[in-house]
């Protein structure tokens, strides 16, 4: 029987699905090749790090499927990853450089555009010093790209005004890991998801924001039906389908709950006292304290106190604490609901506290795992040092030894690298608004939509000389830029992404760039040369050259990637650092035996040794509970929360180009509890006005039992409806991450 082309593709599609779940659907029937060449890569969207296979036919992107060999997603994708190959050919791909002339962006040659950029940056530096310029990068940039930007700006221009959008999403997680464990990034890995008996989710809508990991939780439940799920979240979400207990806390009042859980764990004897004695110090955030001091600190955090503060039932808090205490293997997972808070670092500390009190860390099925929002925030920005206080390889600009080590690799005098942090993101855009920063290079991100309290910052961005290297145009940022440079997109360039679980994965270049687009790294090298710094950049002929130099920065560090050259990364589905040699398999758990950096001599029999701390001990913090920066009051009585939906990602630069995704969730809306809708006289699909102290927005009302009464929720993706004109730019004093998640608002019918 002959098979039509359509039949053939259908069988291929069904086979691909079957293969993912280990089923041979057609009894071994072999499907002939159809001229499609499949290339192993990594998803371009969130930080999970899913393996994808990009199918190319006749030099064009043709198909996409999950990579079943990749142990992260085992062939599954979420709806966003599904459309990756269509984003490559989206209508809004920028094909030529644009330069603003007489107020309008007009097509220009590369030479004209780059000369203008180089001359404007040089002029700003000559007239006002190196801190008059800045770089604002992205957790979506490749590690190689962030490395080049860092080298140019910190090492050659001589400014630490180097930031990236991870400041807005995961800086608090960095602060939590550093202060609690002495080193950034998780102790464990996704492997722990397959062994845990209890998942403690806090501030994470895993089902929508990280669907593939959510599937692993579902799979764990199937493998072990006794597996339990707890969530602390002010909003009901699709994740609720798998929950055993949902503590629906008042937005911003969960710190007291975490303390109450800790108190119950201690009071009822669920702690691992040997682990605590061996491995833990205590601190009030300023000074060391004793275990007894900590117990005294916790005295006031009774379940009743926490219940009153948070609005959840005391008995539910007790139930959660007992489940936590009684279950041997616990994985905590969190994301923006914890990080985008004015006390995000503290809340991260409190999550780690529970693992340290119970010793549920550093062994299979136990981890305190921060989920990441962007595909290379961990790899490029955290590990690559793409923030104002960092240098590559988990180093700090304030550390003289670190500066010297990097200066040696960069071949620059150490004096080139300033010894003080530059301006963090909010401070950077404040300086731009004040006119102190004259020229800004934005790479692969969209701050004119993603910054909080936008109205405060947009005029400054319009006034400053702003360059945007982007694959897409227009974005809210490229629209107001002076120069827009077309950048190669995923599939059109090679490089490395590092995901949530410390895994670095290689992405190949399998397509020609669209139009005149160039690799961002090439653009930065070009700029370096035009600004007179060519000597230390001209040896970079390929991304691999950049990666090889970056690997020198990682040698001997806690995130050692020496054993992960391109040649190896091309063959494997990523490697989890530390991976110090090319024959090392990578590290599943840090700070324990099996971690190549575990110092057995110093550990002296201890199960864990936190080698980022001077005495190898992690820290349990007694942090006060603190509510949101802008609590509700009589004038603004409703809590406004912001967040995400499954179909869209960040500022919709990519997902907004996929008609199917746009149609799935076509318009911005505000979620209102049905009972509140009744009380406020608002019906489904009514147009309403949401007002905060910073701005107002008209949106369609969606009455749904997801936000708790007295709170509303707005997904922040749509550029035509800038949610961030409403949000507050108060920042966490430690991480400098803004409190996007919570502010006070009022609502009225439009």
């Amino acid at each position: 029987m002959s098979m039509t082309r359509r039949d053939f593709v259908k069988l291929s599609a069904a086979s691909a699905a079957a293969a993912v779940i280990g089923v041979d659907l057609f009894s071994g029937e072999a499907l002939a090749a159809d001229g499609t060449t499949w290339h192993k890569s990594v998803c371009r969207f969130c930080g999970v790090g899913c393996g994808v296979m990009l199918g190319v036919k006749d030099g064009k992107p043709y198909a996409i499927r999950g990579d079943k060999e990749n142990t992260i997603n085992k062939g599954l994708l979420c709806v966003k990853g599904f459309y990756l190959h269509k984003v490559i050919t989206a209508d809004n791909r920028l094909l030529h450089p644009l330069v603003r002339k007489n107020g309008k962006l007009e097509q220009a040659t590369w030479d004209e555009a780059m000369e203008l950029v180089a001359s404007k940056f040089t002029e700003a530096i000559e007239q006002h010093g190196p801190d008059a310029v800045a770089y604002y990068g992205s957790g979506q940039a490749e590690t190689e790209e962030t490395y080049l930007a860092n080298k140019l700006f910190k090492g050659h221009i001589g400014t630490n005004n180097v930031e990236g959008n991870p400041r807005l999403c995961m800086a608090s997680a960095v602060g939590g890991y550093l202060t609690s464990f002495g080193a950034d990034e998780p102790v464990g890995s996704y492997d722990d998801l397959d062994h845990a008996d209890l998942f403690f989710l806090i501030g994470s809508n895993t089902a929508e924001a990280h669907p593939v990991l959510y599937d692993r939780l579902v799979a764990r439940k199937k493998a072990n039906p006794a597996t339990k799920f707890i969530a602390i979240d002010p909003r009901k979400t699709p994740t609720n389908k798998i929950l055993d207990i949902h503590l629906q806390v008042k937005p911003g009042y969960d710190l007291a709950v975490m303390h109450a859980i800790a108190k119950i764990l201690i009071d009822e004897g669920y702690t691992d006292e040997k682990f605590i004695a061996d491995t833990v110090n205590f601190s009030d955030g300023q000074n060391p304290i004793t275990y007894d001091d900590y117990k005294k600190f916790l005295e006031k955090y009774t379940p009743e106190y926490a219940a009153k503060a948070s609005g959840v039932a005391a008995e539910d808090i007790i139930k959660v604490a007992r489940m936590y205490g009684q279950t041997p293997r616990v994985v905590s997972m969190w994301t923006m609901g914890v990080n985008q808070r004015a006390r995000g670092v503290w809340l991260n500390n409190l999550i780690h506290n529970l693992h340290l009190l119970t010793g549920k860390l550093g062994k299979p099925g136990c981890d305190s795992l921060s989920l990441t929002g962007q595909p290379n925030a961990c790899g490029g920005v955290r590990e690559g040092g793409g923030l104002c206080h960092l240098l590559p390889g988990h180093r700090a600009v304030a550390n003289a030894e670190h500066r010297q080590e990097i200066a040696n690799i960069w071949n620059v005098p150490v004096e080139n690298i300033q010894d003080k942090p530059g301006k963090h993101t909010v401070a950077m855009f404040e300086a731009i608004a004040a006119g102190d920063i004259k020229a800004l290079f934005v790479l692969c991100t969209n701050p004119a939509q993603s910054l909080p309290n936008l109205k405060k910052y947009l005029p400054g961005m319009e006034k400053c000389f702003m360059v945007v290297a982007e694959s897409f145009h227009p974005t809210e940022t490229s629209k107001i830029a002076d120069v827009v440079l077309p950048a190669s997109f995923w599939g059109e360039k090679e490089g490395v992404y590092g995901c949530t679980e410390r895994r670095s994965q290689y992405m190949p270049k399998v397509l020609d760039p669209a139009g005149e687009a160039r690799w961002d790294g090439d653009i930065l090298i070009d700029l370096a040369k035009r600004m007179g710094h060519g000597k230390n950049f001209e040896h970079f002929k390929t991304p691999q050259d950049v990666w090889d130099e970056y690997l020198k920065c990682t040698a001997g560090r806690d995130m050692d990637l020496t054993g992960a050259p391109y040649s190896r990364l091309k063959e494997v589905r990523g490697l989890r650092w530390p991976v110090p040699t090319v024959d090392h398999p990578g590290t599943v758990h840090r700070f324990v035996k099996g971690d190549p950096l575990f110092p057995e001599d110093k550990a002296q029999g201890r199960r864990m040794y936190f080698y980022g701390k001077p005495d190898g001990k992690a820290v349990i913090f007694a942090r006060p509970d603190k509510g949101p920066e802008e609590p509700v009051d009589a004038e603004y009585p409703i809590v406004l929360m912001t967040g995400r939906v499954l179909e869209h990602w960040h500022t919709m630069t990519m997902t907004g180009q996929i008609p199917q995704l746009v149609r799935a969730v076509p318009t911005p809306y505000v979620e209102i509890h049905p009972d509140d809708g009744k009380e406020w006289g608002i019906k489904e699909r009514d147009m309403v006005k949401v007002i905060t102290r910073r701005g107002e927005l008209e949106l369609e009302a969606k009455l749904i039992d997801r936000p708790m009464r007295g709170s509303i929720f707005i997904p922040w993706h749509w550029p035509e409806s800038l949610t961030n004109i409403l949000t507050i730019d108060a920042i966490d004093p430690g991480s400098k991450e803004p409190e996007y998640k919570i502010c006070a608002s009022r609502i009225e019918k439009a």
Binding site: A14, A17, K222, K241
Partner: protein, 78 residues
């Protein structure tokens, strides 16, 4: 024309009922329940609006559906 495949993850006790519900949807072909809780679905459509609508509907409205995971998409017009 787009050809899509996806795995619909369901609560195992409701797998058969869900399979029957999906089978009724035009332009979709199902390939059975596998390993208790996986339904293989292939769609053959001009646009993926229908798939999107289904995905959304299943995720948000059916308690038995735990996840809808695309596994393959080929764009025959590419």
């Amino acid at each position: 024309m787009l050809i899509v495949s996806m795995i619909v993850k369901v609560k195992s006790e409701a797998a058969q009922v869900t399979l029957e519900a999906i089978e009724k949807i035009e332009n979709l072909t199902t390939y059975g329940v596998h390993k208790d809780d996986n339904i293989i679905v292939v769609g053959e459509v001009e646009t993926v609006d229908e798939i999107e609508a289904l995905s959304k509907k299943l995720l948000n409205e059916f308690d038995a559906i735990l996840g809808v995971f695309p596994t393959y998409l080929a764009d025959e017009d590419a």
